[in-house]
Symmetry: C2
Subunit: 249 residues, 2 copies
DNA sequence: CTAATAAATGCACGATTTTGCAGTTTTAAG
DNA sequence: CTTAAAACTGCAAAATCGTGCATTTATTAG
């Protein structure tokens, strides 16, 4: 086994378990503890981990970089959004709201798709700006700092003039009675406008958003055309939603 | 067996196993380890793999991540923009154009500054969205993909309504006769509008931009109030600029 | 086809890297 | 304070590497 391999193994193990123990590694890799210690020291000096007595722990990344956006459960989200790729066609006019699920979606849009996309989310715009065939239009306005999206009258005004074919709306919460709901008032208003502006409305989210509720209403279920989760469309947890006429992908 | 064949075999093997070992390859291909080593060194210098002690591993692809923006000569740019921090005051209305120098500037804006900033650059907006006390307004429009800025009529329209105290304009090129010039027509138009909208105009750039020229004019030197470079203000390379009335920081 | 030239290969040998071990020091917990 | 585990240090054996050089193989010009 090459040293480089070992280092990779150690780093993988470290991410899995949040820590590594010198003696365990020596046993697992069939090497002396001295060698493991030397490896850990080396990785420590390269700032890839932090050595502690008995092993090593993850280096606390100082994320001083705004630009690396952490996406939780990225693999699961990939599964969800992949289903929705079939909804995309050339020459569509598309509106995308924010959220990490939509961001993952943006990453996976095929390079040969020719379409026009409106968005008000900085990260999504960054992502799409490297797509070769998308006409990208950013909806300007006052920035909502934490969500990195624009809000306010300027946004509403622009959105209300769009005639879009399809709209991908991120969901904070969804339930049978109130439909989509949001934590922020400003964003709920903008999402309303986006839904109004589109022929078809799609919402993608993980199933833990089902049957939850936030203060501000966006729209009720009848206004959604399609919802996409990681569940099978026939899953019983979606029964109620299916009955209300939403198509489930 | 030809060398090219061997290289192909090695690369295939590398993808299959995530690694190759010098001794194994020598045995499998019935060649001396020296030859294998020479092959690996060659492939390493062509960046097709990474040689390590005992063999080689796959090159770690540099995260095809849109979000990590490479800034060349960041330290030099820090030196430049630090000089300009003294121009910032609370309650100013500020316009910032794009460019990596402005991006470095955005990073260094003190956390306690309370101001309003307009920008049309995605990276700068991302950066400033982290700032606790800046009111940030993004100027929407069609995205110019490579520069990650918005362009077009929508942008002009918004900019023309701004009354800003100070404007930080990135420079592609500057010279005595033509003043600021740009490579793209669209961007030159937007920058013109930004300059019009501001009481005071500041441009920051490295000295290698001095005495160069691009196709599209933005403004002449008289419209610039201050320029900032890494040079001492008294440097003779700036003599001509100083004579034309620009303040040099 | 032949001769001249360039490229590739294998070998020898000194230099470098890696690794485990023994002895000593440091650390953390009772 | 005591003690056992963990870490560090120096060292030697083994593996791997780089380089100069001779030999073989391939290429090109005439």
């Amino acid at each position: 086994m090459l040293k480089a391999e070992r280092h990779k193994y150690i780093m993988t193990k470290l991410i899995e378990d949040q820590k590594v123990v010198t003696t365990d590694l020596a046993l697992a890799l069939d090497l002396s503890e001295d060698t493991i210690r030397r490896d850990l020291n080396e990785l420590d000096s390269k700032k890839q981990l932090e050595k502690v007595y008995g092993g090593a722990v993850q280096v606390k990344q100082k994320s001083a970089n705004v630009f690396d956006i952490a996406i939780s459960a990225e693999e699961e989200k990939k599964k969800i959004v992949t289903k929705a790729l079939s909804l995309l066609h050339d020459d569509q006019v598309i509106i995308m709201s924010g959220g990490s699920t939509n961001l993952v979606f943006a990453k996976l849009i095929p390079a040969d798709l020719k379409a026009t996309i409106y968005t008000y989310s900085l990260p999504i715009a960054m992502q799409l700006s490297q797509h070769p065939n998308i006409d990208l239009i950013f909806i300007g306005g006052k920035m909502q700092k934490n969500a990195m999206v624009t809000i306010g009258m300027d946004v509403i005004q622009v959105v209300s003039k769009i005639k879009a074919d399809i709209c991908f709306i991120g969901a904070s919460s969804i339930n049978i009675k109130q439909g989509l709901t949001e934590v922020g008032y400003e964003i709920s208003i903008v999402k309303k406008a986006m839904i109004e502006a589109s022929d078809r409305v799609v919402s993608m989210f993980a199933s833990n958003k089902l049957n939850t509720k936030m203060p501000h209403g966006v729209c009720d279920l009848t206004q959604l055309d399609t919802i996409v989760t990681e569940l099978e469309p026939e899953d019983e947890r979606l029964d109620e939603y299916r009955k209300s006429g939403v198509f489930i992908l």
